[in-house]
Subunit: 331 residues, 4 copies
Amino acid sequence: MRQLKIGIAGGSGYAGGELLRLLLSHPNAEVIQVTSERFAGKPVTRVHPHLRKQYSLRFCKRAELKSCDVLFLCLPHGSSSQSIDFYRGLAQRLIDLSADFRLGQKEGFIYGIPELHRDKMRGANLISSAGCNATATILALYPLYKNVLVDLQRTVVEVKVGSSEGGNRSSEASHHPVRSGTVRSFMPTGHRHVQEVIQELGFGQDISIHFSATAIEMVRGVLATCHVFLKKDLDEKAIWKVFRQTYKEEPFIRIVKERDGLYRYPEPKILAGTNFCDIGFEKDSHSNRLVVISAIDNLMKGAAGQAVQAFNIMHGFPEITGLEFTGLHPI
Amino acid sequence: MRQLKIGIAGGSGYAGGELLRLLLSHPNAEVIQVTSERFAGKPVTRVHPHLRKQYSLRFCKRAELKSCDVLFLCLPHGSSSQSIDFYRGLAQRLIDLSADFRLGQKEGFIYGIPELHRDKMRGANLISSAGCNATATILALYPLYKNVLVDLQRTVVEVKVGSSEGGNRSSEASHHPVRSGTVRSFMPTGHRHVQEVIQELGFGQDISIHFSATAIEMVRGVLATCHVFLKKDLDEKAIWKVFRQTYKEEPFIRIVKERDGLYRYPEPKILAGTNFCDIGFEKDSHSNRLVVISAIDNLMKGAAGQAVQAFNIMHGFPEITGLEFTGLHPI
Amino acid sequence: MRQLKIGIAGGSGYAGGELLRLLLSHPNAEVIQVTSERFAGKPVTRVHPHLRKQYSLRFCKRAELKSCDVLFLCLPHGSSSQSIDFYRGLAQRLIDLSADFRLGQKEGFIYGIPELHRDKMRGANLISSAGCNATATILALYPLYKNVLVDLQRTVVEVKVGSSEGGNRSSEASHHPVRSGTVRSFMPTGHRHVQEVIQELGFGQDISIHFSATAIEMVRGVLATCHVFLKKDLDEKAIWKVFRQTYKEEPFIRIVKERDGLYRYPEPKILAGTNFCDIGFEKDSHSNRLVVISAIDNLMKGAAGQAVQAFNIMHGFPEITGLEFTGLHPI
Amino acid sequence: MRQLKIGIAGGSGYAGGELLRLLLSHPNAEVIQVTSERFAGKPVTRVHPHLRKQYSLRFCKRAELKSCDVLFLCLPHGSSSQSIDFYRGLAQRLIDLSADFRLGQKEGFIYGIPELHRDKMRGANLISSAGCNATATILALYPLYKNVLVDLQRTVVEVKVGSSEGGNRSSEASHHPVRSGTVRSFMPTGHRHVQEVIQELGFGQDISIHFSATAIEMVRGVLATCHVFLKKDLDEKAIWKVFRQTYKEEPFIRIVKERDGLYRYPEPKILAGTNFCDIGFEKDSHSNRLVVISAIDNLMKGAAGQAVQAFNIMHGFPEITGLEFTGLHPI
């Protein structure tokens, strides 16, 4: 089986750890190098304890990187773009997980949400993996915006996020006694991720997304609650059709909307470790509001998982390769 | 000191437990009877372990209730109204914590949010304590609606709630492995509490409140995130003035909006056990949206605390009597 | 590839859900039937939401069970033994996850901890899967007891357990506001699981295990802290050797004892979904006490995972088949 | 009413915040100064958000401290002893919350557990407040050791602790994604706090306490599970008598041991904010082991609460003054 040599630049963070986990079981990939300036020389299991007994690899320094087939960039925002020529010199194919190339197809990077851009991603050499909040929001709203079914100025999006979204560097705000049990409106308005949403959902029109982000007691996960206002009266059956039509072939999108049971709408906790984006909705019976709810694991469909999905598409591998984990319940 | 004889009908639930706690330190109140059909004969500490060594009282049956000065009704929705004559026969003053008398001043009950109806509450005999989600929402929006500063049709309100809001009866949905770590959109649209909000904020106009409720990992607390759209351009300073003007004398409302620190906006966890409603806001710099955030303890300002505040107002006692607890940090 | 027909009796519980998940990716197994009296006729995804899009199977009633190659019994304690002839009539091979056949090789069932009984399990037809607390305790202590290194009367074992250990039936004790954040000494002394431990570690001698169980805020996981008193002075290096010698070939046991880093000793959370038992230890520098710490996922190495491991051993499949998941971090 | 001028050195930490909260409602105390080198000039509410609207005080620098009646020292371990003359020059009475003076009555400091040393504390000028783990352990074991009922060499103590025990400085280990949901055996053996326990329970004999500490998902609270081995056969009734006799007059000790209900044994969560130490026990029916369980709030009975209790005793105030809060349920 064709096995590609993989490098990971910036592999000591949470997305890097997930990439290592996913590529471990990927039959077409072999991770040959992972960088971390801070942990260079130490085994990757030093910071990724879930990989014990799985990897004997050690971190190397960026300067030690060798040529490889594909390089994943999991660097802090700003780093990839600063040294893009260096990285392009190392590998023909780059998948960047930072925000650096998400807007405006900078440097020729394709915006890496497969459900929107699969065709362009096939055979692409440069993919910029979408942000986690943007991914959850875009996938929830895409069918409605593409079909121009909603008022383009009124949408309100509230995401609830876990603490891993802030990365692996500790701070006073992430100190457990402070962060634990919090419901913190850390970004009541605005958000750099909205630019991605507007880019992807605008379709040439001027649109507004009224965005808020609240940090809650959770480590992994994003729940996006999107309030959209329908331009004409559609019942839930018609809306179901719209979503189904858009996503029916998608391996990682599930429409979740049940009449009974305990998990009637999407919930991020059962998605931990998976690449799924679950989407549900409810039509307000007293107004033209439709509430669309989407859930992802921010480190998976919001980062490493979507990057591996991109990797598969780039190379023509079956799209779910390495992404078969179905999640845990209860958890 | 004048000490009133207090009865509590339905005292085995969470609101009943909090009432017992609050009235314990109230110099003008003595709880003489608490009912519970299920636990009749057992000490109140059997279900309220935090009151150990504080109360030697035992639950009695409803049928055993004697006359008293004030009767708090903490019964399931529907129960108070069914037997209202019975309860009125027992005490001149009733404070009902259920939803039964909240709408339309039924039976002459005053809607018990002091910040809106203090004058009517003074000397009133019948008070219907507001719901927890309604309280958080109304207090966040009242200054803006009263001063007609916002688009009356566009407001979107998202509340995040803890598990104690569902009461003390276990269910499959409240089973710890299921409920723990959840972010559950249990009420994407609509909510009986919206009726209260509309009643209080309408001021004779037709208004819409687009409401959603999401259950999160938390036991006590409500955070309401309210997205309103300003009719004319007001900066944050002007908005601050509006809130300040409305609430400056209020003992239980704090405007929380700080430039730095870890608690820049309201957070429910530091309000556990207190009667505060903390309110903050942020103006979207790119649109006319204003996000108003309010936090309460659902069992306190959303239930027992507000009921004791009502009790104090009814009788002309200092309003904070029994409600002095300032909350814990860290928690 | 030889694919065995699998039945699961009692498949609506947590262990049943995990079995379904594990067997999904098992190349030698096909689940053809799952029973649930309560959910008969409903899709398995109704109670196992993490299996959405993976299974189209529906629950059937026990009475509808057909012959199959292997039957997993995930029934309440007492049920398997009551109808053992019925189940033996359905399949040649049974793996029972209840406590019914754990003691005394009842009915010929082999006690299913592979690390102790692999040889007897090979080719066995009847395996009784060990309890979760017993598994964690036995694996922590086995090398020391087998080599008669500790005082047989003094061992104190404290397990900290998550809420999923109690199963999927809700109760007042599992009600989220009650169970959340608890540190509940629900079994200060004694425990039916100790009988298993004594059976496995006695080696013909009279031994005492002073056992306690405390429920903590966690859904999945067991941490066993075992205080043993060494008969002669062994340093940590010598102890390491003993553990290493016993477990060096074991695919699911990892010795975790690091000098630095954040995960120096075993921790259950990074084991969620895996079949690992991580074991670490520290020698008290002031006494002959050795503290051995072991961590497992109670639904995996403590239930379904160990059962699949037994299934593999019974049939001569590679032992880790279906059990490759390495766990998540952070979580 | 006589009102003492209070200073707090090192008031930006968690114990300092709790002291401020407690002294707020203390009729005989007025906090006139609080130091923090880091936050000097900033309002105390900047780091103690639960005190908003309660205090207008600002932090000052240590060098700005003025004379006062009583000075509480909430400094990092090592700081108080280094500058003890400076602090003694400022106030006649010092209550030190660090570990500096706990052992050996250094500098004349009395070890501040009232249940053991109330008489010596009356009128004392220097009190060293006991550590949190030591307090929970000592109070659990004191009646048994004082009456020489247990084997002095065999006791095993396991404490489960929350994250606030580590103080308010963030670290990689306290980073929420890492610390959340953990069950971390951070101190399998040994512990500086054991020295305090041995000092207090030895009564001139050589005793061993086999101590372990495990960090669990919790912010506040300590649960100590103490396994002791009785020298002669006592039944639970006899043991109850021993505890009752020792503690019957104690305002902050409750014996918690119930036959039914959800809170049969001590649990720290319902003690948050209170000065209680709840103690329960169970006799092993198969051996001479007795398991004694004690719970406290580490910031209260384990720090600030016990310090205020000491303050009350020193001055002859009623012992519960300022410590009336009874805790919350559910929480």
